[in-house]
């Protein structure tokens, strides 16, 4: 029963869509959505910005999801892509709000990642992560949701609110750019690119 709120019994047989629909009239039903997906969303955010920042962002993701639940499309079934979408938007907003902090976080977490990933897999994580950090934000979001979180193209489209074709294109372009950078003789600097349209 670990992680199950005081108010709700375990309800593994119910879809996310049903729970969210029910939460419109019984708000406490939304706690089950938290129980189901918190760890996954937290893990995603931790990989992106580090565990410390992920704690706050993951909590915020579920508060926003609760507030926006009337707009959840119940035909979607699982709430996971929707939650990934909210979390990704939060990442973007945070980075927009404080670009300097972003750079610091990015550099710091890349160091953490480098250490962990190198130990775990033996690949040159520093080089790969530095290249990822230099990708266009749209391409980076789509690529990481695909490669790290295992979302399908359709789920990424749901999460980011774009067409499946757009997801395919972003992933393809992101891979191309990644390949170029990884094949280049010099490692790009560990700096996240600006959001599109943002002045530097």
């Amino acid at each position: 029963m670990d992680g199950v709120g005081l108010l709700m019994p375990v309800r593994n047989d119910v879809t996310d869509a049903s729970l969210i629909a029910e939460s419109l009239s019984s708000p406490q039903s939304f706690s089950a959505i938290f129980d189901r997906h918190f760890a996954v969303i937290h893990g995603y955010l931790a990989r992106r910005v580090g565990a410390a920042a992920a704690d706050d962002l993951a909590a915020e993701t579920f508060v926003i999801a609760f507030e926006r639940r009337p707009t959840f499309s119940t035909s979607a079934g699982s709430a996971r892509p929707w939650l990934f979408g909210i979390a990704t938007n939060l990442l973007r907003n945070q980075w927009r709000a404080d670009r300097r902090a972003d750079l610091a976080v990015m550099a710091l977490t890349t160091t953490e990642r480098e250490r962990t990933a190198t130990r775990d897999s033996g690949v040159d994580a520093h080089e790969v992560l530095a290249a990822v950090a230099a990708l266009d934000p749209d391409q980076r979001d789509a690529l990481l949701l695909y490669a790290w979180e295992g979302l399908s193209y359709e789920e990424i489209a749901d999460a980011l609110g774009v067409a499946v074709g757009t997801v395919r294109s972003r992933i393809s372009r992101g891979r191309g750019r990644l390949r170029e950078m990884l094949e280049a003789p010099e490692t790009p600097p560990i700096i996240a690119r600006d959001e599109p349209g943002e002045s530097s």
Binding site: A46, D55, A117, G161
Partner: protein, 310 residues
């Protein structure tokens, strides 16, 4: 060939699971937000609570005494805060633009997404403007009262209806019975304001929008409400008694008049739901500020039209 995607996957950082403190802290923030809504809008504009799920073995949300006390305390606190804010700010600060009006900014360019969103909102604005507060209350109450009445007459049979596994015959009977109950409740909701709703659904059905997502939503919404507006009346209490009289037979339930009626209604509602498709994710999750095409109030009201199962 070890490609860039493979290298990216292998570079995926291993992160520890969230700490107990992080989880508890996040849960507390969510509970606080839920308590706030619970106390301010216990019934909202929705119909009756999760009847469809209850019969599939979910059970009503269980509220132990301690939690009940917490809800009550939170309710009192929030009411006190709201009352205090009212006294401090006074009526002149209450409510900005009415929900059914457009923001005070300049009219959006013809054909723009904003203009299309306002066209989409138009029938809802007309609908909400055409119903009195008394009627709005009746609309909110109707499905709840119907649900309570149906739940009471079905209560003796729920234990058996709930007893099967998902693929069992009794579970399929249960599903059809739920469709009938849902259908009657939705019929009750739309009956209260059927003339006004017909105006709205006609407008949505005739709306031509260049944006395919909004266009699909408009048609789907009209279809979904019309499914309940135009359906023949169903009596869920009578239906469940007939099911029991026929020994919970799946064959009889599927072939019965009410069974076919309820199944067809639910299929129509689902089909209409699919036509609404990607509208809400498109509006809410886009990274380019589309959520501002409609105000929060407009979005809430669009999801709370009588007969709408979003």
């Amino acid at each position: 060939m070890s490609d860039e995607l493979d290298r990216l996957r292998r570079a995926r950082p291993s992160v520890p699971p969230p700490s107990r403190h992080a989880r508890q802290s996040a849960q507390a923030r969510l509970d606080e937000r839920i308590a706030h809504e619970f106390s301010l809008a216990p019934s909202a504009t929705r119909g009756r609570p999760g009847r469809r799920g209850r019969r599939r073995g979910r059970g009503w949300p269980l509220t132990p005494p301690l939690a009940t006390a917490a809800w009550a305390a939170a309710s009192l606190l929030v009411v006190a805060i709201v009352a205090g804010a009212f006294l401090l700010l006074g009526p002149s600060h209450q409510g900005s633009a009415p929900a059914n009006s457009t923001p005070a900014s300049a009219a959006p360019a013809r054909g723009s997404l904003k203009a299309q969103a306002l066209e989409l909102w138009g029938p809802a604005a007309t609908f909400y403007a055409s119903i009195t507060p008394l009627k709005a209350k009746a609309i909110a109450q109707a499905p709840k009262l119907a649900g309570q009445r149906i739940s009471a007459c079905q209560a003796p049979y729920l234990h058996h209806l709930d007893s099967g596994t998902v693929t069992s015959d009794i579970a399929k009977v249960n599903t059809i019975d739920q469709d009938a109950e849902e259908m009657e409740a939705m019929e009750a909701a739309v009956q209260v304001a059927s003339p006004q709703l017909r105006v709205a659904t006609r407008a949505w059905a005739q709306l031509t929008l260049a944006n395919p997502t909004m266009q699909g939503f408009s048609r789907g919404l009209a279809d979904q409400i019309n499914a309940s507006l135009n359906a023949p009346h169903i009596d869920a209490c009578r239906f469940v008694r007939q099911i029991v009289a026929h020994g919970y037979s799946l064959a009889w339930t599927q072939a019965s008049h009410d069974g076919r009626l309820a199944t067809a209604w639910w299929a129509t509602v689902l089909r209409a739901g699919k036509r609404q498709g990607m509208f809400w994710p498109w509006l809410q999750n886009g990274a380019i500020g589309r959520e501002h095409l409609l105000t929060v109030e407009q979005q809430k009201k669009l999801t709370a039209m009588p007969g709408e199962i979003s």
